[in-house]
């Protein structure tokens, strides 16, 4: 696809008057500034708007990554774009100073539901309940939707035409995945033939649920303790 977007006049992209090293430096700083200023991951196309045609964005990113070596934050590729993130090992320090993240903390039960959606999307609430061996409440789904982690996808051809849920770009970005293929152990699930749902038959649901728990390293009783009481209501 030809990059036809060329802002008229105000921003000099090609920087013909600068010597090559200074030009590269300017491009690099522009890219860094844009990524720094953006709350969301910045895509390659967006970054291509502030550098010359001859400039490879990937190389610029590599240089930025090199420069940040030894700093407590890094530039990472998430959700189809680039973003600055603090390095994981400073998590404890940040939490000690600022407390947890401002968004509602994921409960363990909701995290399990979210993982179920991530691995087996599109999946309905009823199917999730069957997989997890636990009623998945509407509130739990609403909470995950409120956090922007999941969204309604296709409807399921079952009575009532319930929505099947899919994960969003926000989910990828929040957990630092570039794509769904970065989910932990997804290869294991592939090899076991567990991804996706064949029309009928296939593995029993109990087997699937066991497998899912095994892969995610979650022991069954651990989860049960943590389930909110709303199920009983």
């Amino acid at each position: 696809m030809a990059r036809t977007k060329k802002p008229e006049g105000e921003l000099d992209l090609d920087l013909e008057d600068l010597p090559a090293p200074a030009r590269w430096r300017e491009w690099l700083q522009r890219v860094e500034a844009v990524v720094f200023a953006s709350a969301e991951p910045v895509s390659r196309e967006t970054l291509a708007r502030v550098v010359g045609k001859a400039c490879k964005v990937e190389l610029i990113i590599d240089d930025i990554r090199d420069e940040l070596r030894g700093r407590p934050y890094e530039i990472v590729n998430v959700a189809g774009g680039w973003s600055f993130r603090t390095r994981p090992r400073f998590g404890a320090a940040i939490r000690a100073a600022l407390g947890g993240p401002k968004t509602s903390e994921l409960t363990k039960a909701n995290a399990l539901i979210l993982m179920g959606v991530a691995y087996f999307q599109p999946i309905t609430r009823a199917e999730l309940s069957a997989f997890l061996g636990r009623e998945v409440s509407r509130d739990a789904i609403a909470a995950l939707r409120g956090d922007g982690f999941i969204a309604a996808g296709p409807r399921s051809p079952t009575p009532g035409a319930p929505y099947a849920y899919v994960t969003t770009q926000g989910f990828l970005s929040h957990f630092g995945f570039e794509s769904l293929r970065d989910l932990p152990d997804i290869e294991k699930l592939e090899d076991a033939g567990l991804l996706g749902r064949p029309g009928e038959g296939g593995l029993g649901r109990d087997a699937l649920a066991t497998e899912l728990r095994g892969v995610l390293g979650l022991a069954g009783d651990d989860v049960e303790e943590d389930l909110p009481e709303e199920d009983a209501a």
Binding site: R44, N77, P122, S156, V166, P198, G199
Partner: protein
């Protein structure tokens, strides 16, 4: 009784049923040399070329069904187990603009190839990459440039497509998080190149299905180009043969549909028949001009009871109809 004025008239009288696919060109054994593979590919593609140039009224359904087969193959290649029924559901039960899930996205991507003229392949690959959430990055740009070079280069059609696949596959391989999509996009580009080399008005998804079913797991990247070319030539031979068989089947079914059309008295019947000939499957909620949802459902059910149409899901609700 005379047919009503607005009763659908299927355009031309049906063409005399085409001669069957020649038995000598069928791909029974894996060829041992590249020349054999090339011969089979040439014979089968020539046959398919005739068919496509005729531009039968059911060409839309033909291409969409090939797209479905390609999507099933690339979904399987990505390590998932959705079959064609699940993909059809994902497509029909998702509102436009809503994410149909990882498997449904493959179908949308392949349909993009068949939704515009073959010359619009750059736009189609951009749509496909976006649908599959593969970024339009330098690697993909390299793959597209390689396809462009093959398209304008001097190689003969299936060889140009094989070269395009070879280059695109390597360009897309190293990127992380792409293992499943890289091969699919490479096959997509190869089909686009083939269609333009053969002068087809709209590309047909051919390569993915036979190529991805040859070996379950991902192909190694270090195979030499000659071996890969042979494999792709043979895949095209298989694909074109299967496509010809599919076309013969669809031709018969379209014939049955057109024979039943005088019995239809609903107002939007002509539009409904066109929709059926133009797509792999149609649901009662598919927008058909002149027909309400209830009217469409009645009409489609009537066609099924006349034996002129198939119901594809076997369900009693959320039914999908197609040739």
């Amino acid at each position: 009784m005379l047919a009503r004025a607005d009763s659908p008239a299927i355009q031309s009288p049906p063409a005399p049923s085409p001669a069957p696919f020649p038995a000598w060109a069928r791909t029974k054994l894996t060829p041992e040399t590249q020349a054999e593979a090339a011969f089979l590919a040439g014979a089968a593609l020539a046959r398919l070329d005739l068919l496509i140039r005729e531009n039968p009224p059911w060409a839309g359904a033909f291409r969409r069904r090939l797209a479905l087969a390609a999507a099933v193959a690339s979904v399987a290649r990505a390590g998932r187990s959705e079959d064609d029924a699940v993909l059809r559901d994902a497509f029909h039960l998702t509102r436009p603009g809503v994410d149909p899930g990882p498997a449904g996205r493959h179908l949308l991507a392949w349909r993009a190839l068949t939704s515009s003229s073959a010359g619009q392949w750059r736009a189609a690959i951009a749509v496909a990459a976006e649908t599959l959430q593969a970024p339009m990055d330098a690697a993909l740009q390299t793959a597209i440039d390689a396809a462009e070079a093959c398209r304008t280069g001097p190689r003969l059609a299936p060889f140009a497509a094989a070269r395009a696949y070879h280059l695109a596959r390597r360009a897309l391989a190293p990127a992380e998080g792409r293992a499943g999509e890289g091969e699919g996009l490479a096959a997509f580009l190869a089909d686009a190149v083939l269609a333009q080399k053969l002068g087809w008005p709209i590309a047909s998804p051919l390569l993915a299905e036979p190529l991805f079913s040859q070996a379950r797991r991902r192909m190694a990247l270090d195979v030499d180009e000659g071996a890969e070319t042979s494999r792709i030539l043979f895949a095209y031979a298989q694909a074109a043969e299967k496509a010809c068989d599919l076309a013969a089947d669809l031709g018969r079914r379209a014939q049955k549909l057109s024979e039943a059309s005088p019995k239809l008295r609903a107002k939007g019947a002509a539009a409904a028949l066109n929709a059926l000939l133009d797509d792999d499957s149609v649901s009662a909620t598919t927008k058909i001009p002149g027909l309400s949802e209830r009217g469409a459902r009645r009409l489609l059910e009537r066609l099924v009871s006349l034996g002129a149409l198939r119901e594809l899901t076997g369900r009693t609700t959320f039914r999908l109809y197609g040739l």
